[in-house]
Structure formats: C-alpha cells, structure tokens
Amino acid sequence: MTKAMLIDTTRCIGCRGCQAACKQWHDLPGETTHNTGSYQNPPWISGKTRTVVTFNELEQEGALTWTFAKRQCMHCEHPGCASACTVGALRKTSDGPVVYDAAKCIGCRYCQYACPFDIPAYEWDEVLGLIGKCDFCVDRQGEGMEPACVKACPTEAITYGERDQLLAEAHRRIVADPTGYVDHVYGEHEVGGTSMLYLAGVPFASLGFPVLRNEPVSAYTEAVMRQTPTIALTVAAGASALYWIIKRRQMNMVLAEPVAAAPSIDQAAEKPEEVES
C-alpha cells in the first residue's frame, strides 16, 4: 500500500500556510520576489520553494471563481524523473514518496526534462547547483507523522492517508456533490497514476494542470535511454571513420605537392645573427 495526499481545491482558501510550513520543516530560505500582478508568489516552484499555491481567476457561464491549487511533486507511481536520472539520485520508495539523494546528484537536470509536471527545480543561483523537489516529508512519515503541509492546512483541503482509501473518498465526494466537482480525480490515471490526487470544481486544464496520457513517462524515457549506448557508439564510430577519411585525404595532398614549396632549413640558417656588444 502506498501513501498519498488528496488535495481538494474546492476546500482551499489560499492562505498558503502549507507553503510556509514546507519552508519551515525543510529549513528553506525565503526568496527575493516581486509582485507580478497576482497573489501567487514565488511565481513557481524553485530550488528553494517546493510547493506553491496557484491563484486562478476563472470566469465561466458569467460566474467568477477564484480557485487555489497547491502544486508540488506529484510522486508518480512510475516517475519519469527517476527513469531519466543517470546516477540513481531519484527513486520511488515502496511507501509512495519519490525521494532525491543530493549526494548522488551530478546536476545534469535530465529529470527536469523528463517530468511532465515541471517540478524538479534547479538551484540556478548556486555555483554547483542541485535539484530541489518535494520529498513528501519522507522523514516525518518515517516517524508516523503527516507531511508538514497537511499538518498546517486549516480547512482539510489536504488529507493524507492510504492511496486506495483516499481514491474512494475522492469518488465519494464527487458522487455526493456532482455539480460542485468535475467528474475527474486528477492523478488517478495520469501518467500511470500519482500519489497526489486532486479534486476540483473547474476543469483541471484551466487550473494549469497538464493534460496527460495514462501511460507512464518511463515507458517513453526508458525506451530512449536504453538506446543511449548504441547511439553513442554509433556516433563515435561514425566520427572516427570520418576523421580517418579526412586525415587520409590530407596526407595524400601533402605527398602530391612539390617538395621545393616548403621553406628549406638552409634559408632559415642564413638569417644574420645579432652582434653582441
């Protein structure tokens, strides 16, 4: 059984207690930010910010809604980041969290390209930057505690528990209020399922959630990554062959030229020497 979080955006009041609690537990510094015409700040997840509440003003059928969606690592069942990581710094644990080992990370940022949710963030302001990412408070979970964001949430917009139980609860809420929710639990099937499950009253695409297929990202990345040795060897062999051909042509051209064209050693020796005083 894997642990999961159910994030009900219809219950979120946008207080951002989760954002501050996350920084407090992980001892992360505050960023220097500016107001960009929205309450949302920092604008997105960064090397020093692992969760961000997005503020979405949506007008549909003449009614205005202001929906807040806490975003962080989705902790995929089949994480694309882990499949792309060349050094095994990212791995899915059997309990649910996708964890990151900074000691192994070489800062190649392949995980950023492999993640469909734009989550792994690079520390661009560090000389030797690493990746920052939500760790689902794996240390707190190990002590039997809920994640820091769940603990801080005053409206139970975030609930923590077993994935199958939370899925059942999500479907129960949709059935109980079919007009209040869209009939979709985001994360149930996306990219093979994720440990983060979302409910919303508006379509997920309008909240900035990517529309994804149900096949895991690793199905694509691993097919490509497996080709890496073959492609590398093919390119190396091709380049070597090209080098050999060009060198051979150059050698043939030098041999074909008359020897007199080259400056003779005798001419160089005729240069008058400076007289020492």
């Binding site: 946008g14 207080c15 951002r16 954002q19 501050a20 920084k23 407090q24 510094p29 505050g30 960023e31 220097t32 930010t33 500016h34 107001n35 960009t36 015409g37 929205s38 309450y39 700040n41 920092p42 910010t49 003003e57 007008e59 205005l64 202001w66």
Partner: protein, 207 residues
C-alpha cells in the same frame, strides 16, 4: 455563537451586553438611538435617504484635507491579506511571509485599468487629498464597477501592511485614509474614502 472559547448554546452572542442580546435602541450612543444610514465623510454619491450626508457626530479632527469628487473620483478601501499582520512591522521581517507578499499593491477592475491605460503588474501612483503612494496594479475581475444613480463608480482596494522599514518595504495606505473616526469608538474611517490612480511615468518616480 459568541466569539470565544465557549461551546455552542452556552453563552449568548452579544458578550459586551449584560443580557447577551442585541438592542434596537442604543442609549449612551453619540449618534443614536436608532441605526441610520450616512454616507462616508468622503463619498462620490449623495445620501438618498435624507439631506444629512454624513454622520454629524463623527470624530472629525479637521487637520487634513477633504477630497473633492472631480479630483478624486474613485472609491478607495483598505483591507488585510493573510500573510501580514497590521502594519507588517513583524510579518514583513519574516522571509517566508515577505516572499509571498513582497510589494504594496492596489486592486482594480479591468474596466478601470483599461480607462487609465494601466497594465496588470505595473507600478502606479495612488493619491488622495492627503497623500500619494506607489503600488503594483493588480487588475482583477474580482473588482467590478458600481452603477450608482446611473453613474459608473469605480472602486480600488489596498492592503495596509506596508511601511518604510523591514525586509520588504512599500507605500503605507495610511497616507491616503481620512482623519475622521466613528462617532462612538473613534475607529478611523479607513474603509471608504476618495482617491485616484494614475500611471507612473516610470517605476522609480518619487511620490
């Protein structure tokens, strides 16, 4: 339910009254005994109920200027955000809160922004008869113009948490608000006043 730690049904809600109940007649009130509607000290509209525009008993310190509607046609109001407390003297020094709400801002409707040529996220100047401050324009459909007596009246909203010392600093809304107070409690009338918003010629313009 009263505002306090009591379980429901144990106490009546009006805890400041001996009986715990509300009163229709309010003896000892400076502006009683019956509730009455008055326009704010600065208002773009007349009082439709009777010729007395504003509360005659309000605390008017008469130290500062009163704005005229032609110069300051917008209704201004002030409020708080959950990230900051009061003038922000403590919360603006906490990095986790300062990063969430770093700059003084002014919220306005898309209609008003279009009228003034203001883009979302740009620095603007908010001014009243008493002062002027800089703020980031937050253009949002959450603000909509009022239609009062057939006239379009725009409203702008300002948080009041910024000041000149702290990790993050910014214009104080108290520079704009009027010097009058409630007739009984003297609580300042910061929730309704007249102001104007204009584009800043550049982000560094001093006010």
């Amino acid at each position: 339910m009263p505002d306090g730690g009591w379980p429901p049904g144990e106490r009546l809600p009006f805890i400041m009254r001996r009986g715990g109940r509300a009163r229709l007649l309010g003896p000892s009130m400076a502006d009683g005994p019956f509730p009455e509607h008055y326009e704010p000290w600065e208002s773009p509209v007349f009082n439709p109920l009777h010729p007395q525009e504003t509360n005659p008993a309000l605390w008017d310190l008469e130290k500062d200027a009163k704005g005229a509607t032609h110069a300051f046609p917008l209704v201004g109001t002030t409020y708080r955000v959950s990230e900051h407390w009061q003038t922000g003297a403590m919360t603006r020094n906490l990095p986790w809160l300062a990063e969430m709400q770093p700059d003084m801002f002014v919220e306005m409707s898309p209609q008003l922004a279009a009228e003034r040529g203001i883009a979302n996220g740009e620095w603007v100047i908010v001014e009243s008869a008493r002062g002027a401050i800089k703020a980031v324009a937050m253009v949002t459909p959450r603000f909509q113009p009022f239609i009062i007596h057939g006239e379009t009246i725009h409203e702008v909203g300002l948080p009041y948490h910024w000041g000149y010392i702290g990790l993050v600093t910014g214009g104080s809304a108290n520079e704009l608000t009027p010097p009058v107070g409630d007739a009984n409690t003297m609580i300042p009338e910061t929730k309704a006043f007249l102001c104007n918003v204009r584009k800043s010629t550049n982000g560094t313009e001093e006010v």
